[in-house]
């Protein structure tokens, strides 16, 4: 009897080892997926309420960046254009297109367009566009070739190492208080 029970219980350690090995690989597979979720690999890029084509406005028409982002030279934030600026042209241009109809609908409802912010910095960072434009930095140094993007995406990490490397290269201040509030 005892011999029989020994025979039946023998595979258990092996089964446990197999389960442990399986669990080990499954655990790491889950960890990879979790890392992806935590770092936003699975989050689709934020889509804008209106598909604004920079390829048309900045490339084909050649509008200067500060025509729409008027705060770029004088303020901390470059700013998104007011609805009225869009409508100054689009009250009469391409009014039959679906995206322009959306724009006109915003006007009818008296609502501002809530653009998704792609270049958000942490709240403890003090960044001003004004200082960077004054330092003769071109827009594409931080934003890439926006005029080539049908839908704008972030192309720089905006992390501290990146900022510091540029400050070092340009001889700008690297004092903590320059950027940190």
């Amino acid at each position: 009897m005892s011999h029989e029970s020994q025979k039946t219980s023998a595979p258990w350690p092996k089964r446990l080892i197999r389960l442990a090995v399986l669990g080990y690989f499954v655990l790491f597979a889950l960890l990879v997926v979790a890392t992806g979720f935590l770092r936003g690999f699975f989050t689709p890029p934020a889509s804008q309420p209106i598909a604004f084509p920079h390829t048309v406005h900045a490339d084909k028409l050649g509008l200067a960046c500060d025509f729409c982002h008027s705060g770029v030279e004088q303020e901390a934030s470059a700013g998104a254009p007011a609805l009225s600026l869009c409508l100054s042209c689009h009250n009469s241009i391409a009014t039959d297109r679906p995206e322009i109809k959306k724009l006109l609908e915003y006007e009818r409802r008296g609502e501002p367009v809530r653009w998704e912010r792609l270049h958000a910095l942490p709240s403890f960072i003090h960044f001003t566009h004004q200082r960077h434009i004054q330092a003769k930095l071109t827009c594409d140094a931080c934003h890439g070739a926006v005029e080539q993007m049908a839908e704008v995406r972030r192309v720089r990490s905006l992390d501290m190492g990146w900022c510091v490397s540029c400050h070092r290269e340009k001889g700008a201040s690297r004092d903590c208080a320059t950027c940190h509030k």
């Binding site: 890392t35 770092r39 690999f41 050649g62 993007m149 995406r153 972030r154």
Partner: protein, 420 residues
């Protein structure tokens, strides 16, 4: 010549993937096979034995078959590096840095092959040959570490123009993780070579032969490498720049863990039964793991290195130039043909969306406003370059960033059109 080649980027990228998929397993086998053989010979010398096990000789021959094989690997590496420069960034590193890397790799591989010929020809305990092999292994390892860091650096294009001032960026944590992955893959492929390439091929039913434990060493080397794979891979995924990551990359990472798990299962079955069923299956798993890893690198590069990302990174000849002038760098076809700026084509491209000569569109009819400038063409040119709101009934005209030459051409065309 370079811009012409860059017109075939998709083809070049596929060629690069194929070259990497070919060269990485070969390089790993050369490195791992030589290292394992040298380690075994070192142990043999320490224990006072006169001859190393026969499998060492076989492994050395398999890892470094010939000088021609070595030349082929070096040429493939050179071609891959050249493709990296053409596809992604010609000015990433100086030619001197690339040449130094290639020299180090070629010398290391050459020393490894020379060591193999001397050891297999004159006897396994030749001290000079051992030193030669050791230096070769060290050189190849260092050059691969540099290559892994370079590959990681590609994923942070924003640092490239600053490379000259920041050599320490060359060493990146993500590059270290990729290097560790390569070492683990080297362990897996060397273990595979030890398992199935030693002269100890024997019938399945036989016990382990007296092969100096090559099978056991190979099995444990491969097992250890595959077990450590998920750990290093997690580190890679945690360190990779977020802008280079994607769902596909995560999917490939999970796939590689599944491949490693299936390799472990196969090895466990092999060790338990001591027979080599479906030998090719394990070789296939290791090669698939290699290709999955190489493809992960490609997916990460493709996610981040789009032309729009690379714009603004090239060193600018005059850093104090003001805002970008999109059309200044893009002369019109007609203008190029005649060597002048064509006012008519510029007008059609830039102005007709808002202006017509005889009716209101967004702006006023040009026939009403342009004649005001008939006597002052310079003022019209100035207005085109720096428009200001004049009429409250119309929206402000945007600044189109016209150059002086373009503004002059458009002004000339407008005045010509409205003149009686």
């Amino acid at each position: 010549m370079l811009p012409e080649i860059q017109n075939h980027l998709v083809l070049l990228k596929w060629l690069l993937i194929v070259l990497i998929a070919l060269v990485c397993p070969l390089l790993a086998l050369m490195l791992g096979g030589t290292t394992a053989s040298l380690a075994s010979i070192g142990i043999t010398r320490r224990t006072g034995q006169k001859d190393s096990p026969a499998w060492v000789n076989a492994l050395l021959k398999r890892a470094n078959p010939s000088a021609q094989h070595d030349t082929l690997v070096v040429l493939t590496v050179i071609a891959s590096l050249l493709l990296f420069k053409i596809i992604y960034r010609p000015q990433l590193f100086s030619n001197l840095a690339w040449a130094g890397l290639i020299w180090m790799l070629a010398t290391g591989l050459g020393l490894m092959v020379a060591c193999r010929y001397r050891l297999t020809g004159r006897g396994l305990l030749d001290r000079a040959a051992l030193a030669e092999g050791g230096i070769g292994v060290a050189l190849v390892t260092v050059s691969y570490f540099a290559l892994a860091c370079t590959e990681s650096l590609l994923l942070t294009p924003e640092y490239w123009p600053r490379m000259a001032g920041l050599p320490y960026l060359f060493l990146s944590w993500h590059g270290l993780a990729r290097f560790a992955e390569f070492i683990l893959l080297t362990g897996a492929i060397t273990g595979n070579a030890l398992l199935f390439s030693s002269p100890a091929q024997r019938p399945p039913e036989a016990d382990l032969p007296p092969d100096g434990g090559a099978h056991r060493i190979g099995a444990w080397l491969a097992l250890g490498s595959l077990f450590l794979w998920p750990v290093v891979l997690c580190l890679d995924m945690a360190l990779i720049p977020a802008l280079a990551a994607s769902r596909l990359l995560s999917g490939l990472a999970v796939l590689s863990i599944l491949l490693a798990a299936s390799g472990v299962v196969w090895l466990a079955m092999y060790l338990q039964r001591r027979q080599g069923q479906f030998t090719h299956l394990f070789i296939g798993i290791v090669l698939l793991l290699f290709w999955c890893w190489a493809f992960m690198g490609h997916v990460a590069r493709e996610k981040i290195l789009i032309p729009a990302t690379l714009a603004g990174l090239a060193p600018k000849p005059k850093p104090d130039t003001a805002k970008p002038q999109p059309d200044a760098a893009k002369p019109q076809p007609d203008a190029v043909a005649r060597g002048t700026v064509d006012g008519k084509s510029l007008f059609e491209q830039k102005c007709t969306v808002c202006h017509s000569f005889d009716q209101r569109v967004v702006g006023p009819p040009l026939n009403d406003v342009v004649p005001n400038y008939s006597a002052q063409p310079a003022e019209l040119k100035s207005f085109l370059q720096n428009p200001v709101k004049r009429n409250p009934d119309y929206p402000a005209m945007p600044n189109l960033g016209l150059t002086a030459e373009q503004a002059e051409a458009i002004a000339g065309y407008l005045l010509q059109q409205v003149s009686p």
